[in-house]
Subunit: 327 residues, 2 copies
C-alpha cells in the first residue's frame, strides 16, 4: 500500500483491522455499512471522549501505538467509573494530511490491544481530514451501576484507587527530556494508564460505595465536581496523598512541587470514591483482593461546600486550582 492514502484506502485498512477482532454473537452487523447493529438487553452505559493532538497528546513524545492505547484507556476509565463491562466502541478519526498507513495502523493497534484485553469491540467509525490528529471514541458498556458523583455524605471517607500525579510527572519528564530509567514508572503512568475496570465493578458489586467518579482532570477539579454534585465539602489531608519516591525525585530534578502534581495533574485515571467510615477497611480489602489496586484514604467529607486541603494547621480551599482545558 502506498504511503499516500485515499479515504477509501484508509477505510479498507481500518475495516480490515477491525475484522480481525474476536467475534461476538450479539454483534449483528460490524463495520462497513451505514450503522453497526447489535443486540442489547438491559441497561447500557454510554460515554464519549475527544482527544486532540497538541492539546491532549503530542507525537513528539508519544508514538502512535501509545496514542491509540491512551485514547482507549481514557474512554474505558469512564465505563470503569460506572462499574460497566465494556462492550462496543465507535471511533472517529480526524487525520492530518497526508495520512500515513503506518501511523493509522499503529494507532488502531494500540486501541485494539487494550480494547481486546477488556472485551471491547470496535464496531464502526468515521474517517475524515482534520488539521491535526483528532480521535473521538464513543463506548458502550453493559451492566452498569448508578455509581454517581452525587452520593457523597458528610462523614464519608474519600479514597482513590492509586497514587496521583504520576501521569503529570511523567508528562513533565517527557517534555523536559528526562529519560533516566528512574523515571520510567512515571512515563509509563502517563503513556499507558490502566483503566480501573475491575475496581469499578467491585465497587458496584460491593454496595458499599457512596460517590464514584474517575479522575481525568486532576483531583482538585474532579473532587470539586463530586463535592458540587453531592452538595458537600471535601477535605483532603495533604499527608495522606502518597507521594512516591520517583515522583519526589522527578519534582526535585524539575524544580516542581510534587503535591501540585498530585492535586492538579490530570489523567491518572484512578477512581475517586467515598464510603461510610465504618465500611472503609472492608472496601479497601475487597478492592485489594479482587481488583489488584491499592486504594487508600485521602480525606473526609464534611457538611458545606468546596474542596479544601489540610496541611498541619493550614486548611485552604483548592477547588479552583485544577487543570482547566480552556485556561
Amino acid at each position: 500500500m502506498s504511503e499516500h492514502l485515499t479515504e477509501e484506502d484508509i477505510i479498507s485498512l481500518i475495516t480490515g483491522m477491525l475484522a480481525g477482532q474476536e467475534a461476538s454473537p450479539d454483534l449483528l452487523l460490524g463495520p462497513g455499512d451505514d450503522c453497526a447493529l447489535f443486540q442489547a438487553e438491559g441497561p447500557l452505559a454510554a460515554t464519549t471522549d475527544m482527544l486532540v493532538e497538541n492539546i491532549h497528546f503530542s507525537t513528539r513524545y508519544m508514538n502512535f501505538w501509545e496514542i491509540g492505547y491512551r485514547a482507549m484507556a481514557a474512554n474505558l476509565s469512564d465505563l470503569a467509573a460506572m462499574g460497566a463491562r465494556p462492550r462496543y466502541g465507535l471511533l472517529s478519526l480526524g487525520l492530518a494530511e497526508p495520512p500515513q498507513a503506518g501511523q493509522v495502523k499503529d494507532l488502531l493497534k494500540g486501541m485494539l490491544d487494550l480494547a481486546a484485553r477488556h472485551g471491547l469491540l470496535l464496531i464502526g467509525g468515521d474517517t475524515v481530514k482534520a488539521p491535526v490528529l483528532t480521535i473521538n471514541l464513543c463506548l458502550l458498556g453493559e451492566n452498569p451501576s448508578p455509581l454517581l458523583r452525587s452520593r457523597a455524605e458528610a462523614g464519608d471517607s474519600i479514597l482513590v484507587t492509586g497514587p496521583l500525579g504520576l501521569s503529570a510527572a511523567g508528562l513533565a519528564c517527557l517534555r523536559q527530556g528526562l529519560r533516566d530509567p528512574v523515571f520510567s514508572s512515571l512515563i509509563s503512568a502517563h503513556k499507558l494508564p490502566s483503566p480501573r475496570l475491575a475496581a469499578g465493578q467491585a465497587l458496584a458489586a460491593s454496595g458499599l460505595a457512596g460517590a464514584v467518579m474517575d479522575i481525568s482532570d486532576g483531583l482538585a477539579t474532579d473532587l470539586g465536581r463530586l463535592s458540587r454534585s453531592s452538595r458537600v465539602k471535601a477535605v483532603v489531608e495533604a499527608p495522606l496523598l502518597t507521594l512516591g519516591r520517583e515522583l519526589r525525585q522527578a519534582a526535585e530534578r524539575l524544580n516542581q512541587d510534587p503535591l501540585l502534581w498530585a492535586l492538579c495533574g490530570g489523567e491518572d485515571f484512578e477512581l475517586l470514591f467515598t464510603c461510610r467510615r465504618q465500611n472503609e477497611k472492608r472496601l479497601v480489602k475487597l478492592l485489594t483482593q479482587s481488583a489488584q489496586v491499592a486504594p487508600y484514604r485521602i480525606g473526609r467529607v464534611e457538611p458545606g461546600s468546596g474542596v479544601y486541603l489540610r496541611r498541619q494547621e493550614d486548611c485552604r480551599e483548592i477547588s479552583m486550582e485544577g487543570y482547566d482545558h480552556f485556561r
Copy 2:
C-alpha cells in the same frame, strides 16, 4: 455569562440546554456524570460522524445554528439508512479559543431542534479545546433493520429518494456569493438537509428493498461502495437524473456542469436503494404516500462490477470520480 468561558462554564451551559429536552422513561441517567445510562431492549443501530470546520463546513457562510442542524442531519441520515428510530446521541465538541457562549448555544440549539423533531435525546458528551470547531456525534437508534449495501442483485432497479446535486450547487452558490432568491432552494438543501428517516423506516417495513444506503459522499462514490459490497455493476442513466430548473440555472451562472453536481456532489443525504424491477412501482407509491418523498429510478443493476454512466450511445465508468475527502 461572560463571553470568556472556562471548561466548567461550557459544561454548565450545555448540560443546562440538554436538561431542557423531553424526558424519557428509558433514560436512567442523563448528562453530567461519567456515563449516561439507559435501558435497552432488542437490536440497536450505532453510528458516528465527525465534522471539521473548513473541511465539512465554514462559518463564513453558515451560522452556528445551521452548523449544528446539519451535523445532526448528517448523523441521522445514517440511522435512516438502517430504518432505525433515533433514540440517543452523544456529542463531542472541540472548540477553538476563546469559546463563545452565543456560538455554543446556537450550535446546540440547531442540533436539539432537529433531534427533538425525530425523537432523539442528547444524553452525554465531551467538550475540549481544538484548533478549529470539531463536532462529533455518535447516535443510537432502535428497531433497525439490516438494510445492507450488499443486497443489490443483477436486474434490480436503482432508485434515490430525491433530487441529487442540490447540496453541492447550494454550496457553490454560497461560496460564490450568489444570494439571488432563485437559488434559495439550493442553499437550503445544503444548509438544512432532511434525513430520510420515514423513508428508511418505510423501506424496512416494506420488505421490498434490496441494498440501501445514504448518499453522503456523492452518487458516484456511494454507488461505487454499494456495487463493491454487492459485487455487481451499477449503470446510471444520465437522462433519469433529475436536474431541476434551479440546479441548471445555478450551473449556467457558475459555468459548472449540473450533471457533475448530481453525480459527485456529496451531502444530499438522500437514500440510495435497489429493488426488484417488478416491485419498483409499488415501492415508489408506498414511499410517496408514507414518507413524503418522491423516489425515482436512476438506473439498473447488472452483472459485473463498477459504476457506469450511460448517455445516449456512450457508457463510461465513473466509479473513481466521486468526491474523496483526502483528494
